[in-house]
Point group: none
Chain length 422, copies 2
């Protein structure tokens, strides 16, 4: 190794990253993946789509770093120069990989089209490189050894990059550096209170134990980030388990999940456990609640559907909201309750959730200000509802209202009688 601990560099490639058009999120994803085995990035360089720049950078970093992770510029067009740049920088020929040509042809035949000639360049690797198979796209990546460094080259599309990093590159890096110390993080997902309220509830734990705290604001959800260090993954994870129990005793049902669990997965799991079905009636969210529920694979087991009633006429004709109710405005608890009952009836579902509100920027003829939402849930035993004022602008209001509706379902399924926070 070239230092006391492994020196890892990241090179992201693309004019669009330097022009500020695209925000570079790959570095953060790579940093997260490396954190697990206790590694970190020592340098990050962004270079333009230039053969000379790419080759010089890769050659230079390979001489002073132990691993160089390169992302971007593996596409089929003329400004995708990464493979050529890496070949030039490491003094290797480009070699055609016949099986990748076959894979590309297969990819396009599945789409019912011939492979464009431009895509053929994606089937060339520098001599001696090993393939990192694609994760859904056309661009495979590769790894090679140069100047006592591991060079890994991945596409820039975040989803593909992350999948290929996890499947092939991280195992190669972990094996190479025989990593010892382990840093593990856990994200406690909360919804319904602001950052300072959440921080206040766990304030006595900050600095009280071996686990570090951080707080992230993610639109509606507030994330409590716990970080622990151990000699093994198990040791660090058990510190986190103990701390999570402390956090849970303070946050209760404000916590809806951990790590990558989404609100719709949690709600879906609860519906599935109870063998219950759901339908939606949406005005302000206009389909986002149903669509979020449908994000989860297998959601057709409990999602029957929903009615988007953007106009008063649709609320009356499709959801049977009484005309009298709507004469006093469409954003209030009685209207939301009638919508939820209407959807429950239309779909014969066990429960139905409804949203109505003022997204803004204007009031849309409503007496209430933008950000006002009413949410209701209809079930066999009756209907519950809340009215709240959400922060933000049009699409942030709609997004938080969607989370609030899902959270309302979650709290109901958990047996909460009093639901007042958004």
């Amino acid at each position: 190794m070239k230092g006391s601990s492994p020196l890892i560099a990241v090179v992201t490639i693309g004019d669009e990253l330097l022009s500020g058009e695209v925000l570079d999120t790959n570095v953060g994803a790579i940093a997260s993946a490396l954190r697990e085995p206790g590694l970190r990035i020592s340098r990050h360089v962004t270079v333009p789509d230039s053969l000379e720049e790419i080759s010089r950078e890769v050659r230079g970093l390979a001489s002073s770093f132990d691993a160089v992770i390169v992302t971007g510029g593996l596409g089929p067009t003329s400004d995708d120069l990464t493979t050529e740049g890496v070949a030039l920088g490491t003094g290797r020929e480009l070699v055609l990989q016949p099986h990748i040509v076959e894979n590309l042809k297969l990819f396009f035949s599945r789409l019912g089209r011939p492979m464009p000639d431009e895509n053929l360049k994606q089937a060339y690797f520098p001599e001696g490189a090993t393939e990192v198979p694609t994760a859904g796209g056309t661009a495979p990546g590769f790894m090679l050894e140069h100047d006592d460094a591991l060079i890994a080259v991945l596409p820039g599309v975040p989803r593909e990059m992350e999948s290929m990093l996890a499947s092939d590159v991280m195992p190669a890096i972990c094996e190479r550096f025989q990593t010892a110390g382990v840093i593990v993080t856990r994200r406690i997902m909360t919804f319904g209170r602001g950052e300072s309220d959440v921080a206040k509830l766990v304030a006595d734990r900050i600095g009280a134990g071996p686990v570090d705290y951080g707080f992230l604001v993610m639109g509606g959800p507030i994330v409590v980030k716990l970080t622990a260090t151990g000699t093994t993954h198990e040791e660090a994870a058990s510190l986190l388990d103990a701390e999570q129990a402390e956090v849970l005793s303070r946050l209760g049902n404000l916590m809806y999940g951990v790590d990558d669990q989404s609100m719709e997965e949690i709600v879906g799991g609860l519906l599935r456990e109870r063998g219950m079905t759901i339908a939606t009636a949406e005005s302000i969210t206009a389909g986002m609640v149903a669509s979020r529920i449908a994000n989860v694979p297998g959601s057709s087991a409990y999602l029957l559907g929903g009615i988007v009633a953007y106009t008063n006429e649709a609320k009356e004709s499709l959801l049977r909201v009484p005309t009298g109710l709507l004469s006093e405005g469409a954003v209030n608890r009685p209207v939301a309750e009638a919508m939820a009952r209407g959807a429950r009836e239309a779909y014969s579902s066990d429960i139905a959730v409804a949203t109505t509100g003022v997204a803004g920027p204007g009031s849309g003829g409503e007496a209430k200000p933008p950000g006002t939402v009413a949410i209701a849930l209809a079930a066999a035993e009756g209907t519950i509802s809340l009215e709240a004022r959400l922060p933000g602008w049009r699409n942030m209001v709609r997004s938080i209202a969607t989370m609030a509706a899902l959270n309302f379902v979650r709290l109901h399924l958990l047996g909460e009688k009093q639901i007042d926070g958004w």
Copy 2:
């Protein structure tokens, strides 16, 4: 100068940028500021809070670039090492600036507290540096000349950095490089073909004129990025206007908008112009189409609502899809057409668009493979539909299907009779 046009490098400093905890937005802000006078960033490097790394990087970049903009690490704490690093890298002493000590004392006296000793380090500059006054914080920045390069050092707090960049650094840069040229970019948004197909359609223009081409893949849409340089903004813009006309003649209706225009804005604009209303019938997209249409402020003028029919029962009861049709599967053009007609009737809308498909990962009982979608549009004059196979995984399929449905509406409103691409 060290190249034919000014070579500008940006160095952002901080462990938190490399750990992925903080997303680096300063590069984008600097790129925007430079774009106006026709300049661009040629390299971006992120280094940790390390004296050695900072000094080596600044020295190296100053030798091969004309300007080096450094941000971050000017705070009062022990991990803020940028000033020392720049002094070391340029071989200069640190010199105490008495007037900055006075400014710092004044800053703290206004907060009603004495100046902490830690802040005294912020009053040191490398010998020969000129001050860039603070913009609200405690950290002043500085500029200095080294190895025929301008080195500008600014705090990392975005608001302070941007203000100080605009007030002091950009004027110095513009004066130094006597910038005459202006670089202007335009993004041509396309939908319905892959990156290589789009590139092929405009291949004869690449390198044929004064406008540079780039291609970006953004999930479904493919972006053709045009970049032109002129002595004035108007000159560059008129080059882009001419090139856009060339592109349009090759892409036709594959192009749906430019720059930040979204598909739903374009569709909303067309509906509004024609005074038409729309409703949706969604299975695979489960509300995403309606929700995307509702993203646009004022969409209540044309969006009446939609029915999410996730189950066959809902397709029958709410959209009046004949049972006989569904016995042969729910993913085909006749079912999509019946759904569209059902929604048009339920909402009494001018047109209605429908989606049905297999999102995956499994086939959900359908005979067709994941990624298969059928889209239909019902209007007074009849119903049209298409079936396609989309690439990607579950939620990418749903997202592209949503774009495809909106694009189908767009093409219909533009009068296309034959709509076959997704």
